[in-house]
Symmetry: C2
Subunit: 441 residues, 2 copies
């Protein structure tokens, strides 16, 4: 295989350790469960690590290769095996693109709820391996809440099935949840049975511009206090709006310093939207009128809000989550950190879940970033993570630890918790050949 091909398969969209690409030995494209089993067995015999890769949209370095590894590409295992509208389940191969599954089930009035902003490119297998979140998760829960059963190839090539195609089941331990979010370190997911939800008969969209970010965050709390549950509740700051304006020719940034984007759905959508509008107007928001066309366009723009800038040494995005009551204080803290360390800040958040993606960056006119600026960037990043933890939050709401966030994992988890996870890893993959050195310490 040409080095260029290896290079493409060596990295995902997340940060690299020391920003150095490690090339794999080879890339294998599996087309069947048997292909996966064969590769894993062969790799086991030769003590070669297997790095599983789907669409490579991870932003945590979870799919980054390691030197001497084989990359197992699953994108060709992309068949929707069953859509069972009466059971409200579907069975898919891991390489099926999220948007394609949703398109296939929509004709039955169904949806696969978890919709990461990468839904048009990322795979169900990747979503499961990272327990991906998304916009609709505010109401419908994350990937784990939609996964009923898994087919998994273990480190020794054994194929097992966990869970069952029923909505409920408590036979034995919850192995399904253990594989969900395990980032390919415990087994390779080769089949997924998902629960589908009802497509909403109607959706109401609300866009509300605010003069500052903390007030917009306060809106999230006020809506909660009104005990209204939107399907989508996203928060964008001015930096994010500027990026969208640049990419799409919109004029968002001049309309406010922060934007709350909401959708209500179900048969109560209209009443709920009305309640939300009232709450946000009272807070000083400039709120879109019912039926406003532009708001829907904004939601679609938001779905791509993370795609505007690839991460690199000088621009890194985070993924913390905090208890909801801390949202206002947390965005204030972020703004404080950006000022203190003189770095640029951009924030987009799945605000309904208390899950924020601040992106910090530094720049220079000639493109060469001085070491001193890099240090400020790192200090801001570390600070943003520390503050989230101090507020009772987590270092990663949905992107996973991958390789990049390993440096903070010990801040969140103590030695006993780390040891317990190591024991699980040891039991499942005694030779440490599946996605080594990521997800856990």
């Amino acid at each position: 295989m040409a080095e260029a091909d290896l290079r493409i398969h060596a990295v995902d969209q997340g940060p690299l350790e020391h920003w150095e690409t490690q090339l794999p030995l080879a890339v294998v494209f599996a087309e069947s469960v048997e292909d996966v089993q064969k590769l894993v067995r062969l790799a086991g015999e030769h003590g070669v690590a297997v790095v599983t890769r789907a669409a490579g949209t991870s932003v945590s370095g979870g799919a980054n290769a390691v030197t001497g590894s084989v990359v197992l590409n699953l994108t060709r295992m992309n068949r929707i095996l069953q859509v069972r509208p009466e059971d409200e389940v579907a069975v898919v191969e891991p390489g099926v693109i999220n948007a394609e599954l949703n398109a296939a089930v929509a004709e039955h009035g169904l949806m696969y709820a978890p919709d990461p902003a990468s839904y048009r490119t990322s795979t169900i297998g990747g979503n499961v391996a990272t327990n991906a979140g998304g916009l609709r998760c505010a109401k419908y829960g994350v990937t784990r809440d939609s996964v009923l059963a898994l087919d998994v190839v273990l480190a020794d090539g054994t194929l097992i099935r966990t869970g069952s195609a029923t909505f409920k089941g408590v036979a034995g331990y919850d192995l399904t949840s253990l594989f969900v979010g395990s980032e390919g370190t415990l087994g390779i997911i080769v089949g997924i049975t998902v629960r589908l939800r009802y497509l909403s008969p109607k959706v109401e969209t609300i866009a509300a511009f605010f003069d500052d970010l903390p007030t917009a965050a306060q809106g999230v709390l006020e809506i909660g206090r009104a005990r209204v549950q939107p399907a989508i509740m996203e928060l964008l700051d001015r930096g994010t709006m500027q990026a969208l304006d640049g990419a799409h020719g919109s004029d968002l940034a001049q309309r406010g310093a922060a934007l709350l984007l909401l959708q209500t759905d179900g048969y109560g959508a209209q009443i709920e939207a009305e309640m939300i509008r009232e709450v946000l107007v009272k807070l000083g928001g400039r709120v879109s009128a019912p039926g406003d066309e532009e708001s829907n366009r904004l939601v679609n723009l938001r779905r791509h809000a993370r795609g505007d800038g690839i991460v690199n040494e000088a621009r890194v995005g985070e993924d913390v989550a905090v208890p909801r009551s801390q949202l206002v204080k947390y965005v204030e803290a972020l703004e404080g950190l950006a000022a203190e360390h003189r770095v640029d800040l951009k924030v987009v958040a799945h605000a309904g879940d208390g899950n924020l993606h601040p992106t910090f960056s530094v720049s220079s006119d000639d493109g060469v970033i001085p070491a001193e600026a890099m240090e400020r960037l790192q200090a801001a990043l570390d600070g943003s993570v520390r503050v989230a933890l101090d507020m009772g939050g987590t270092i990663t709401g949905e992107h996973g630890i991958g390789t990049y966030k390993l440096r903070w994992l010990g801040w969140e988890q103590n030695d006993d918790v780390i040891a317990l996870q190591r024991q699980i890893k040891q039991a499942f993959d005694p030779n440490n050949l599946l996605n080594p050195n990521r997800a856990i310490l």
Copy 2:
């Protein structure tokens, strides 16, 4: 401790192995996390098994003692430690009764969604250890979907914390889900952080009587086809109605052979109820009018429908779940099995989840059941489990394996899956002292 006290603590409400009570050595009432840690350490030093017990409402024998064990009673650890309305979370000790938590959060417009029919007696700790389901789970998911973080005492006395008090979090493996439903075999749950949901501003109740059970089951499918999601969707057969009539003086059984009980909630409750009524009338159901008072009483009766008869050798209840499309065929099969083996059948089901509780029984005039009748009973039970598995179902939707369902676990799970779970148990509890010989094979 008097033998009578030991005897009370030796059994839960489920079947006993060979119907023989095994008395524990002692019962310890913990009042703090430290009490639990001390007991577990002491037990470890002496190689004594610890059987954790909460309210003892398990119907699977999960809390049954084993000879030579110490029973650890957690019912005195019953403080609600925090209600955080802004965060929409609560933190409780394990012995808090489900209904008490719900009462405490209701004043904030919140609810703890999972509501097993035992909600007035069972504990949050027990609910978590069994991943309990309930009536509202049709819409709001099971216990696992409401648990954010756990404090757990491990087999060596170490206290760990899993998860975080955020709605989302993917740092490391999902240990929280692994402990949920592990029936006390991996650790003792001493603190629980739950997510709360919004209490619905209104609820619409619908009662629909049918001439036969399969048609009522068909109603569940038709409602699904209309893509309406009720909060509650329960199915009761005539036998269940007769039992309720006997206990409460109602006249349900003479009104039909089956009853579907539904509730819709949220701001769309009324529209949804109207749609459901239409669907069920078309199917020949005798459907209650909007606002009908009696329907609400019926839901409350249903909440206690399982309490009418304690299990014993001659009367055993099951807990299978099947894919939704199989509901009609499955209730037909149950009726066939009852006829074939000449046993009595009673069915109550969390039908929205495809989770059924058939109870088979045999009787005799003098109370002495002939061995031949016991064999027929066992054949009917085995048959009902086998049919559920053949339809792609599971042997337990919510009650857990406990000790009673171990005999069927190997029918559902193959040796590789069993081995993997044993390795987890071995890693967490190497001396097999926590709730030995239950939940897994």
